[in-house]
């Protein structure tokens, strides 16, 4: 499994991660981000794309 972290001090709700993997990342009605914290290895490519496209470099993955 891959652990996913988002630094909420950095996240500015750009929604890039949501566009790349809507099943793993969501914005709520107040535009706050929520996400799945443990993700199957098969989704590594999507997670890496999210990490590299987040304008705030707020997303970190481990494992």
């Amino acid at each position: 499994m891959i652990k996913v972290h988002i630094d909420l001090n950095l996240c500015q709700s750009h929604g890039e991660c949501v566009a790349i993997a809507p099943d793993l990342f969501q914005l709520d009605e107040n535009d706050f981000i929520s996400w799945q914290e443990e993700v199957d290895d098969s989704r590594r490519a999507d997670l890496e794309a999210a990490v590299n496209t987040c304008p705030m470099t707020a997303i970190r993955i481990e494992g």
């Binding site: 750009h14 929604g15 949501v18 809507p22 009605e29 535009d31 590299n52 496209t53």
Partner: protein, 412 residues
Amino acid sequence: MRLVIVGASLSGLRAAQAARRAGHEGELIVIGAEPHLPYTRPPLSKELLQGKQEIEDSALPVDELDVQWRLGTEATGLDRTRRRVRLQDGGEEHYDRLIIATGCRARRFDGPGAHLDGVHTLRTLEDAVALRAALASTRRLLVVGAGFIGCEVAASARSLGVEVTMVDIASHPLVPFGPALGKRWAQMHRDHGVELRLGPGLEALYGDTGSERVAGARLSDGTSVEADTVLIALGATLNTEWLTGSGLELDPGVACDPTLTSTRDPEILAAGDIASVPAALAGGARVRVEHWTTAAEHGQLAGRNALVAHDERTAHTAPPYFWTDQYDAKIQALGCPALAEHSELLELSPDGGRFVAACVQGRLVVGVVAVNAARRLAWYRRALQTPRPLTELKEALAQEDATLGSPVGAMP
């Protein structure tokens, strides 16, 4: 395989990372004119200028990339027959595949007084540090150009308590978003105390007699503005001089096919602000996008595509996304609003502070602009994978129950 990337900023870094991740084991050389490892530019006009972030915070994570960095080194020429990039220090780098990621620099004012102290542009970290220091003792800042960077700096300067005058020859700020929304941005800046002078252009800068320090500007309508600091924010110029004589097609960006491969040479790709790439929303015409997310996406794709033969490369299809933060408005846009003929409000919150507008060309929606509505924008991203008629988008919207609210009347 020896992969050389010229330009050590966002798209160059993303290309290097993607190439390694896709299994590139050969040499990887990144040549960058700036002395720094890659950093991110958006905070330079926002958080960094406002003092909410420090220089270190704008560094982009570089991981444990196995890269030979050639920093502080400008590429001065490209010899495609010998596959060599010429360097400013007289050296050369041989490549098997080359990614061009040299982006843009700030366009300068070249009229009278351009050389005076206190006249700034904003593109690099050094520019931001210098402007921040200047603002600490500025009474009135003159911003020339009400585009994205001009408007952001005006907003940042107001948050620091600096008086601001902003001039533009256009009739409204943020021209790419069109006149209807433009009125709203103009009002937003006036509400925050910016003196907006729309219509006249900058004619000359002047200093006090015997002083090399800027004291004000003369405008084309004969009026003048007093200012002790000036930001020239007249857009960007492409860093393509080093490609002169290379035989690559410059339009004026590096002309590419949808896989970011240059039209004249399959061994050469381009990414980011410099790449001119066919876009579905522009009816297949090539467009250049000077925004962060496209540069990040281009870099990732160019890094992967550079490793495979031309016919195995994949196309860039994501519509442009970009944002700008001014005061308490987070303005986000999708697609190519600049191509639109008019805009139409689609959603509006009851308090008027959040909205979504469609940018329409003919019958087609070619872009969407959202203010403080990130979640709604995500919906439009899915809905706008291809250009869609406005009527169809409105029908889809009618089925949506999570909208901000329906707009009554004209533009906000």
